[in-house]
């Protein structure tokens, strides 16, 4: 057992650090945790990485992945987090991409993978419905075969950033008589198809991050079905397992703790920096200690994956603890800014620009970010669902 990087790994770290320094777009600095950016801003770094061949490090090499080891991927995410880089969104690279190269047809691979890698095609996830949240398998959207098309009807919700989407991957019921988890299919839909309407949902932080997506008699060619009809649940579960890696967000939270420390060094309490206040500094310590526990749990997971053992039982902790820590981080950041947590930057004239001059710059979105991050323990299988999964898969109860 040791924590040392090999000389090759150290050289790799230096290489990616230099690449990020020389190529990360200056205009995106400091935007890493914002939800209300333009399409071009969201895709800026993704497109640069696409050209370099680094946009999908976890993919197998033959589909355009990097072939990096798990330690290299760990270094990669650490280095990006150091500059708070705006990483490629998960919907293409981490979600539908792996489903397509694992279960899709050769035509689907050829058609879709290059666009995902390059950051040219924006994907949306059509899973949740008004009546199917944590109980995803109770979804009702139907796809009825009509010649060489499916006719799709239903309503999806929480469709993240679908206002920018070119394509979507949707779970639809193809066999209404089957039990809830059977009879579901995984279908790729061009978002420009007639009958699709995307309506914004405004969230408590004032952003337009998610949408309702209505599908009315949407005609989709049958070749857009991924894998076999009625086996979509298998692919959805596979996708969730993929979604989990990196969900701990360790590198980004470490950067967040640094930022919190710097805010707490600027803020004062009775004339003393907040960072030296016993009550507050101990909260930071506790957070950092819990983050260290998460970091080493993730490292153990990576090590076991690298040995081909697959993620061990400890990997299931990553979603729960990772999101709890992300939430506590934003909670403490809001506490740290004190009175200036209250001004609503997005509600003022000029809408969300950063130079409003109310309070220190770091206070502008502290409350919004705290509000927004409540989503993390709800999405991707709520943390209660995660506990049900651990109960079943690990405790065997």
């Amino acid at each position: 057992m040791n924590l040392d990087f090999t000389p090759e790994e150290t050289a790799f770290r230096d290489e990616v650090r230099a690449f990020i320094r020389d190529n990360y777009p200056k205009e995106l600095s400091g935007m890493g945790s914002r939800e209300d950016l333009t399409r071009e801003q969201f895709l800026g770094w993704h497109k640069i990485l696409g050209k370099k061949g680094w946009s999908a490090p976890a993919w197998p090499k033959k589909y355009g992945g990097t072939g990096w080891t798990s330690t290299q991927r760990y270094i990669w995410s650490e280095e990006n987090a150091r500059v708070d880089a705006l990483m490629p969104l998960p919907f293409g690279v981490s979600m539908v991409g792996p489903v397509i190269y694992t279960f899709g047809s050769e035509e689907q691979k050829a058609k879709h993978l290059p666009g995902i890698l390059a950051g040219d095609v924006w994907w949306a996830q059509g899973y949740s419905e008004p009546g199917a949240g944590s109980d995803l398998a109770s979804l009702k959207t139907t796809a009825v075969r009509d010649g060489d098309h499916y006719v799709i009807n239903g309503q999806k919700t929480w469709t993240t950033l679908a206002q920018h989407a070119d394509w979507g991957f949707f779970l639809c019921r193809t066999d209404p008589s089957a039990k809830s988890q059977e009879g579901i299919s995984f279908i790729l839909i061009d978002m420009k198809t007639p009958g699709i309407e995307v309506r914004p949902i405004r969230l408590i932080d004032g952003t337009h991050e998610v949408n309702e997506t209505w599908l009315t008699d949407v005609r989709v060619p049958v070749e857009n079905l991924v894998g076999k009809e009625n086996e979509g649940w298998t692919y959805a579960k596979f996708l969730l397992a993929h979604e989990r890696s990196g969900i701990a967000g360790v590198a980004r939270s470490k950067r967040g703790v640094e930022r919190l420390r710097s805010i707490a060094s600027s803020e004062t309490i009775d004339g003393t920096p907040l960072i030296l206040n016993g009550d507050f500094s101990r909260k930071i310590s506790q957070l950092e200690i819990d983050l260290t526990a998460l970091e080493f749990t993730e490292l153990r997971t990576l090590a076991s994956e690298a040995q081909g053992k697959g993620p061990g039982p400890e990997s299931s902790i990553l979603k729960i603890k990772g999101t709890e820590i992300q939430q506590r981080l934003t909670e403490l950041t809001l506490e740290a800014v004190g009175n200036y947590g209250a001004p609503y930057a997005r509600g003022m004239d000029g809408h969300g620009v950063n130079d409003l001059g109310v309070g220190p710059e770091y206070s502008n979105f502290a409350a919004d970010t705290y509000f927004n991050m409540r989503k993390t323990s709800i999405y991707g299988g709520s943390n209660e669902i995660q506990r049900n999964i651990i109960t079943k898969m690990i405790l065997g109860l």
Binding site: M1, A293, F296, G396
Partner: protein
């Protein structure tokens, strides 16, 4: 980066696990604890034979060439079996000091310790010192060629079984000064050493040790008798990492025992493990135990880094394990219900051991403060 165990470490783990399974079952342990001796010197000899006492030492020092990870492996198995023998005190702490001693001290003490013939205990705590390693009223004063030691050491775990004590004492300065502290080897049968032996709530034995003008030679002092605190802190951090490993073993067993119990115990016509409120509690216990393992790896792997990194790592681990141990222990009792309160079930004994581990070498509050103070030092240094 590598999280694998070596072949030797795996062998140690397997053979120790087998020994504990065969000869350290719960009923045997209860009988041993209730006996007048309170431990099994024969078991200690078997540990020596298995190479456990030699495992963490370099070959030059008469060991098997291992290190802290080997001690971690042993201590985790000890935790699983609630083993009471003083591995932490004699091997990790005693050996930790001795391997940094002079060649003469190594020859005189380390070799017989590794052979299992000499057993060490660590007399550092004092009635009023709480967890501050520098808060010492025990004194060592120069006396001709040697030293005279006087004072009262509190709750010296394993002292009733020890042949020798490692004693911290003030050689100069005021009561809580960080300078002016020495570390001394004292034979327990030396003139002027008196002990009051007693059992501890978690099945071990300890002593109040009084030193009344105990004479020791110059060769009794380990390292710099005027500045021993850095060494004491280093060895104590190593002890913390090992103690965390023991806690991990105990937590894992307490957690799995509880899951097993919930599978068989029926109420309202169903196994209580079917109740979601208990399931989620047990998932939280599982997560606490797993994260404790991660923290123990972390602390054990950082023992040889710079002082601040090492101290923060040890304190971080002790905080997390203290909290996890309390959570796992308390909920294990709760889910066992009334049966968890009975002495005849093992679960209560795991709970008791986990409870006391938090108070050994500094509890959660102590280490959260230590970690915070070290971080503040970094902030101030960065600001200058």
């Amino acid at each position: 980066m590598d999280f694998n165990f070596t072949e030797e470490q795996t062998m140690i783990r397997d053979s120790l696990a087998r020994l504990i399974k065969d000869q350290y079952d719960f009923d045997t342990r209860r009988k041993v604890i209730a006996s007048s001796e309170g431990w099994r010197p024969k078991m200690w000899a078997q540990f020596a034979e298995l190479g456990l006492l030699a495992a963490p030492f370099s070959e030059e020092d008469g060991g098997l060439g291992g290190g802290p990870i080997d001690a971690m492996v042993v201590m985790e198995e000890f935790g699983k079996g609630l083993v009471i023998e003083p591995y932490l005190q004699s091997v990790v702490i005693g050996g930790g000091f001795l391997k940094r001693g002079s060649d003469g001290q190594k020859a005189e003490h380390l070799a017989p310790m590794i052979a299992g013939e000499r057993v060490f205990a660590f007399a550092y705590a004092e009635p009023k010192g709480r967890y501050n390693l520098a808060d010492l009223e025990t004194t060592a004063t120069k006396d001709g060629a040697g030293w005279k030691i006087s004072g009262h050491k509190a709750v010296v775990v394993g002292a009733p079984w020890a042949s020798h004590l490692i004693v911290t004492a003030r050689t100069a300065g005021g009561r809580r000064d960080t300078k002016g502290i020495g570390v001394f080897i004292v034979a327990k049968d030396a003139k002027g050493v008196t002990t009051r032996d007693y059992p501890t709530v978690d099945g071990r034995r300890a002593s109040e040790v009084h030193f009344d003008n105990v004479s020791v030679g110059t060769d009794a002092a380990i390292g710099d008798a005027g500045n021993g605190l850095p060494l004491i802190e280093r060895v104590t951090d190593e002890a913390i990492a090992a103690l965390c490993a023991e806690a991990c073993g105990a937590m894992k067993v307490a957690q799995t025992m509880t899951v097993e119990y919930s599978r068989t115990r029926k109420q309202f016509g169903t196994a209580i493990g079917k109740f979601q409120v208990l399931q989620h509690k047990m998932v939280d216990m599982f997560m606490e135990a797993e994260q404790s393992v991660s923290m123990t790896y972390m602390a054990s792997l950082k023992l040889d880094e710079d002082d601040v990194t090492r101290k923060k790592a040890a304190s971080a681990a002790k905080v997390r394990i203290g909290q996890a141990g309390r959570f796992v222990g308390q909920n294990a009792i709760q889910i066992h219900g009334g049966m968890g309160m009975t002495d005849e079930l093992a679960i209560g004994h795991y709970f008791k051991r986990l409870t006391i581990i938090d108070s050994e070498f500094g509890n959660v509050d102590h280490h959260l403060k230590r970690y915070t103070d070290l971080s503040a030092t970094e902030v101030l240094v960065a600001a200058e």
